[in-house]
């Protein structure tokens, strides 16, 4: 039930302004932590700006979707939706400089596979990657807990795909004026795919996105579904509710349509800059990270020893 879900309670934001505010705060927090004695000009040259972070995030969202669509075995759409939602949620409160999106991206997909009951063992999962697969597997598994923690362990994602099917069934049953609803399906799915790359899933409920997609698809076939929405879906709604819903539908359409893909050149320039300013503690290739992992392992080894000695003390006393 979406209405009582954590998605509704914690992960819906009022709009892009609020999202931008949170992202800027994450960016600022990172810079404050690592600027040391740099002047403002040096900071601007060394660290990423919030706008640059957005470019990088969007670029990796495209990469993520491409990775998912080429994934073997073929994954259901809801896994793509869920992994993109995880990715977006993660970078609302975290900076791309702190955690590199290329690691988080793969972890998101891996976690989404589990959440959507499409479990792929890690060995099979990394077969879809080129390069040192063992290293990838280690990185994914080491970031998995971090990712879940940053998502507050709220891992249920309501995707717009099932609501869309629900509206299609409802259209066929309760709106006989529309003769062949299946012909709009192609456009509807196109719209949903585009919506995945925008921030729509952080602002609107999945049913709103789905209804907007249906409306958009019908408009492409030059059919107006205003009659259906007003007299069937919102028949018993109060005036205020109906007005709000219609307003939200318009906003969904505006946000999804206004999405612009980033160019490769832009992204590459940002990525170069990132290589210097990223947090080395979260870079699986860096020396600091390896040292930290070893320390952690040793610390874990120490704990039982401490416990045992404590126990023997208790026994002795």
């Amino acid at each position: 039930m979406f209405a009582v879900s954590s998605q509704h309670k914690h992960w819906l934001f009022s709009g892009e302004t609020e999202l931008a505010k949170h992202r800027a705060e994450a960016n600022k927090a990172y810079i404050e932590q690592y600027r040391q004695n740099k002047t403002d000009e040096e900071v601007a040259a060394f660290f990423l700006t919030p706008a640059e972070e957005r470019i990088l995030g969007r670029q990796y969202e495209v990469v993520l979707r491409k990775f998912c669509s080429e994934f073997q075995p073929l994954m259901p759409k809801c896994v793509i939706g869920t992994s993109l939602a995880f990715f977006k949620r993660f970078y609302v409160f975290n900076s791309t400089m702190d955690y590199h999106p290329k690691d988080i991206m793969l972890t998101c997909v891996y976690l989404a596979c589990k959440c959507e009951e499409f479990y792929v063992p890690i060995g099979q999962f990394v077969k879809n990657l080129r390069g040192d697969r063992e290293k990838f597997a280690d990185a994914i598994l080491s970031f998995e807990l971090t990712l879940m923690g940053k998502l507050n362990y709220q891992l249920t994602i309501h995707n717009p795909f099932r609501p869309m099917e629900g509206f299609m069934i409802d259209l066929k049953t309760r709106y006989p004026d529309l003769h062949n609803p299946e012909k709009i399906r192609k456009y509807v799915e196109e719209f949903l795919d585009r919506s995945l790359l925008s921030d729509a899933c952080l602002i609107f409920s999945p049913s709103q996105i789905a209804l907007a997609a249906i409306k958009f698809g019908a408009a492409k076939e030059s059919i107006s579904l205003d009659g259906y929405i007003k007299s069937v879906v919102l028949k018993l709604a109060s005036e205020k509710e109906a007005e709000n819903t219609l307003y939200q539908l318009r906003r969904v359409k505006a946000i999804v349509k206004s999405f612009e893909p980033t160019t490769r050149e832009q992204a590459q320039a940002v990525q170069k800059k990132l290589d210097r300013c990223r947090n080395q503690e979260n870079n699986p290739d860096s020396e600091i990270y390896k040292q930290k992992a070893i320390d952690k392992l040793n610390a874990e080894d120490d704990i039982p020893v401490v416990k045992r000695s404590k126990m023997s003390q208790d026994n002795g006393s």
Partner: protein
């Protein structure tokens, strides 16, 4: 460990747990079904060593190694033929015979040796054969003793029961007699009778206590059954229908789905799915619920929490 199996049909204990291996005098094992097949006529040859065998001589293989079986067989035969009760008579001769026969060394020579021995000691052997071995005698006496004991126990139980029944009947008769002829009030008579009955019961109990084993198990059946402890009954369960929060228009109910013809517009469930308890209406219901729930979500109605960053930060530590 290699599997124990029939050498002819290659069935193993692992594949057929009820496999019965039989062995004949030649010491080669065969499974039950192979024996049935090969020895239809009652006699035949061993498929391994071509010794002619009789079906009646097959017996269950007790040891994993068929050689052991064979040896035991020979040992028994030699023992039966000449050494009953004279086993210490000619120790060396006995073992030599067994060893030679079971390892195919000088078979004819050994057989001749046995024959000769038989002839020499004919009288002795005959005498011994008519006697039963001391061991067997002892076993038999043990079994007999046991049988006697169990019979005694049974009769004792029966007697006890009869005695009890007779006592009860007597009590009843006494009571009726007293009621008929005594001057006392009925109440007093009944209460006095009850008391005396109780007393007798207690006496009986004390008697039966003597027949308790040291382990606490009592001989004979027990009269006093432990009463079932009555569990305390809590507050009765009251059913409250589930109230669902939609944050949107009310979706069609399950009844609507059946009555309004929604089912025409979705794929009917296959027979296999129906067998598993799935109905297409379930999927339809879920899709519709998800389509309508959350439609009214609006940022001013449900403002996204500002405390989110703090929450995320606290969860990560």
């Amino acid at each position: 460990m290699d599997e124990q199996g029939c050498p002819r049909c290659k069935t193993t204990k692992y594949r057929n747990p009820s496999l019965k291996l039989l062995v004949n005098v030649c010491g080669h094992s065969l499974c039950e079904s192979c024996v049935d097949l090969l020895f239809v006529k009652g006699s035949g040859v061993c498929p391994e060593c071509n010794t002619s065998l009789r079906r009646t001589n097959f017996r269950l293989q007790l040891f994993e190694d068929p050689f052991v079986e064979k040896e035991i067989d020979i040992r028994r035969k030699v023992l039966r033929e000449c050494f009953i009760q004279t086993i210490y008579h000619n120790y060396y001769f006995h073992f030599l015979a067994v060893y030679n026969l079971s390892n195919h060394i000088d078979v004819d020579e050994t057989k001749r040796m046995i024959e000769q021995y038989k002839k020499e000691n004919r009288d002795q052997i005959k005498k011994n054969q008519s006697k039963m071995s001391r061991d067997e005698e002892m076993l038999e006496s043990l079994i007999e003793q046991e049988q006697q004991e169990s019979y005694m126990r049974k009769t004792m139980l029966k007697q006890n029961e009869q005695r009890e029944k007779a006592a009860k009947r007597k009590h009843k008769d006494d009571l009726i007699d007293d009621l008929m002829f005594s001057e006392l009030s009925a109440q007093a008579i009944i209460s006095s009778h009850r008391e005396s009955a109780k007393q007798e019961e207690e006496e009986l109990k004390a008697k039966s206590a003597a027949t308790t084993f040291s382990t606490g198990i009592k001989i004979g059946h027990q009269k006093n059954v432990v009463p079932m402890t009555r569990t305390e009954q809590g507050v009765l369960f009251r059913y409250f229908p589930l109230v669902l929060e939609w944050c949107g228009p009310e979706p069609p109910s399950m009844d609507d789905i059946y009555s309004d013809g929604y089912l025409k517009n979705i794929r009917p469930a296959s027979d296999a799915e129906r067998a598993g308890g799935f109905r297409e209406a379930i999927a339809c219901h879920r899709a519709l619920q998800e389509a309508f729930s959350g439609l009214f979500s609006y940022p001013t109605i449900s403002p996204s929490p500002v405390k989110q960053p703090a929450l995320a930060a606290s969860a990560s530590h």
